[in-house]
């Protein structure tokens, strides 16, 4: 039998994905800086079911604290409660579970705010008027609604701006490509700007627009997306697309682990539940090769304030 030398903290990523790779880098930074070991586990599918199977298996191994992405905002709470019932501490990263929730902290992007920022920037690029194609990702995700609401709120503030069409339900890049292409084909004369608020549609839109703008006769279409896949950054460097929103995945990993470590050390949450906005940076051609530093600065800022703002010292 193996000796039990269980890492105190376990970090769970949904599945191999660029986002998880970046979060993981934050977790690794945490390990290096603190010397605390973290078990890093990645699942096979982006589903709550798969997460449950994997995390339940981890839970039996006796880790004391968990940093987990909530696969389904409501469903994850049952898992969190189960872990808490076994005396294990959980911090949610990446997305906010349904409230009320048994976890004390979420470290994530404030998605509605991010969507609003994106919409503001897009409208600014469009010169304050024109028609927008609004591309949402999943239809089975409550966050999609929040993003949509954010965008609509901003658009409502500009009389010259309207949403010409909303398309949605695309879990894969290929599906997103088909839909964005179809929308562009159907309304090429009307669309002035495109906003995408999910990873897959952003990748898809970047490739569709790169191809679209290759023909100089075609009309210039403004674009802002979210996340920073290599395809997207390359398209920004090329000038094929305008901008994207960089989230702070390393911060999600780093700060969630930092919190767990403090809690294990006896610090207690300042309030029952707190949302820690890990921040965003708008990436354009100007900062496409330096935005990572800006993101890191945000992380360091949050880390510095952590004890004072969110925690109470151990008794």
């Amino acid at each position: 039998r193996k000796k039990t030398s269980v890492e105190p903290i376990a970090w769970y990523g949904m599945m191999p994905h660029p986002y998880k790779t970046e979060v993981r880098s934050g977790v690794e930074r945490f390990e290096q800086e603190t010397g605390v070991r973290v078990l890093k586990v990645v699942g096979q599918q982006w589903t709550q079911d798969n997460e449950n199977v994997n995390v339940e298996a981890l839970s039996t191994k006796g880790h004391k604290a968990f940093s987990i992405y909530p696969g389904d905002p409501a469903g994850a709470n049952a898992l969190f409660a189960q872990l808490r019932g076994r005396g294990q501490i959980v911090v949610s990263y990446g997305a906010e579970p349904d409230l009320p929730t048994p976890v004390a902290f979420t470290v994530a992007t404030d998605i509605k705010a991010a969507a609003m920022t994106a919409a503001e920037r897009l409208i600014e690029m469009m010169g304050g008027r024109g028609r927008i194609l609004n591309v949402l990702e999943l239809v089975t995700d409550i966050n999609t609604k929040k993003r949509d609401d954010g965008i609509r709120e901003v658009v409502a503030r500009y009389p010259g701006v309207s949403i010409i069409q909303t398309i949605s339900d695309m879990t894969q890049v290929s599906e997103a490509t088909v839909k964005i292409q179809s929308a562009l084909a159907a309304r090429m004369d009307e669309i002035d700007g495109i906003i995408t608020t999910g990873y897959n549609p952003t990748i898809a839109a970047a490739s569709v627009l790169t191809e679209w703008h290759r023909d100089p006769k075609r009309k210039q279409i403004r674009f802002i997306g979210i996340d920073t896949g290599e395809t997207v950054l390359q398209a920004i460097r090329d000038g094929s697309i305008d901008a994207t929103i960089a989230q702070n995945p390393p911060g999600h990993g780093y700060i969630s682990c930092l919190l767990l470590q403090r809690l294990l050390d006896g610090w207690t949450p300042a309030r029952d539940y707190q949302f820690i906005d890990a921040g965003i940076v708008v990436v354009t051609r100007d900062n496409v090769d330096s935005y990572a530093a800006e993101v890191r600065k945000i992380t360091d800022g949050i880390a510095a304030d952590l004890n004072a703002k969110y925690l109470r010292p151990p008794q």
């Binding site: 990645v42 449950n52 339940e56 298996a57 839970s59 469903g75 239809v139 089975t140």
Partner: protein, 322 residues
């Protein structure tokens, strides 16, 4: 061979191979890890297995009559939405909401079955279309947001009796009933006969069209049941319930020895199929398999389990041959 032929008390064919594989896997895991035999581990494993069994049964009912259903997950999803509406929006008592949700599952299955038999279109295309239709309805109705369920509703999915999850007990009983049905009731035998050879079944006075409809109704009912229990377990009615059932439903049913061409099913086999599937998944986390390659190990181990079965079969054929 699994159940199909009658009056055979022994455990035949694939099932035996699966029992061997499962036992091996179980033994390895108990040796590798101290926590494996803990009551919590057994609790979560057995509960998850129960869900796999339900989902597999939902597919197996269709397979048995020589059909298939791509809509099992979509029916589960639609059921979840109706459950959520009942519990949160319409504020029905839990019992009523559950009955309503199960009813919707049954209706969806009925609709599938009627379209297939009345229009004489093959089950693949009908259930594919219906899958899309139900999936659209669920996102349209729910807008993507999960529904809250009352605390009391969670008892069944989260509770246990002497450490055994209710869900598992329920499924064990159901599986026994299903096994009995296929072994010993006229209805069950008619389903099997329909899948075994529809022309022969018709010549025995069996209304095969009706059997096909029944199979889809049962499939819908089991998908709905899985969805309701899942909501109870999860503590919310989440629209994406069912999105990953399709492959699981086929995989567990077929690993468990259900014939892809109809006429063959084994309750015990499906149970063992779900055990294998779950133990492999759990085991990979347990042994800290490189998570990026986890799927590869899962695939290899499934293949291995079946190969063990083949080897056993070839060996036992040899025995009989001489």
């Amino acid at each position: 061979m699994p159940t199909s032929a009658t009056k055979r008390p022994g455990i035949g064919g694939r099932t035996l191979g699966l029992i061997i594989s499962t036992t091996l896997l179980f033994a390895v895991l108990s040796l590798l890890s101290q926590s494996f035999l803990s009551s919590y581990t057994m609790f979560v494993i057995s509960r998850q297995m129960a869900f796999y069994v339900l989902i597999a049964l939902s597919q197996a009912f269709c397979l048995v009559v020589g059909q298939m259903s791509l809509a099992v997950g979509a029916i589960g999803s639609l059921t979840t939405i109706v459950l959520g509406l009942g519990l949160e929006t319409w504020n029905l008592p839990a019992g009523a909401a559950v009955v309503l949700a199960l009813g919707v599952g049954v209706l969806a299955g009925l609709l599938n079955g009627l379209l297939i038999t009345r229009l004489k279109i093959d089950s693949f295309i009908v259930t594919l279309s219906m899958m899309f239709i139900y999936m659209g309805l669920r996102s349209g109705i729910s807008g993507g947001s999960p529904y809250k369920v009352p605390e009391s509703f969670r008892a069944v999915g989260q509770g246990s009796l002497l450490g055994i999850p209710y869900v598992f007990l329920l499924v064990a009983v159901l599986l026994g009933l299903v096994g009995f049905m296929f072994r010993s009731t006229v209805f069950g035998r008619r389903l099997l006969a329909t899948g075994g050879n529809a022309a022969a079944a018709r010549l025995s006075g069996i209304e095969t069209g009706r059997m096909v409809v029944w199979a889809h109704v049962l499939s819908g009912a089991f998908a709905a049941l899985a969805a309701v229990l899942w909501a109870s377990k999860l503590g919310s009615a989440a629209p994406e319930t069912g999105d990953d059932w399709l492959i699981v439903s086929f995989a567990v049913a077929i690993i468990g020895g259900t014939g892809l061409n109809g006429g063959v099913i084994s309750g015990l086999g499906i149970f063992m199929g779900s055990a294998i599937f779950m133990l492999i998944k759990h085991g990979l986390v347990e042994v800290k398999a490189n998570p990026y390659y986890a799927n590869s190990f899962l695939g290899l181990l499934i293949l291995l389990a079946i190969v063990i079965d083949r080897v056993r079969q070839i060996y036992s054929d040899k025995q009989k041959g001489t």
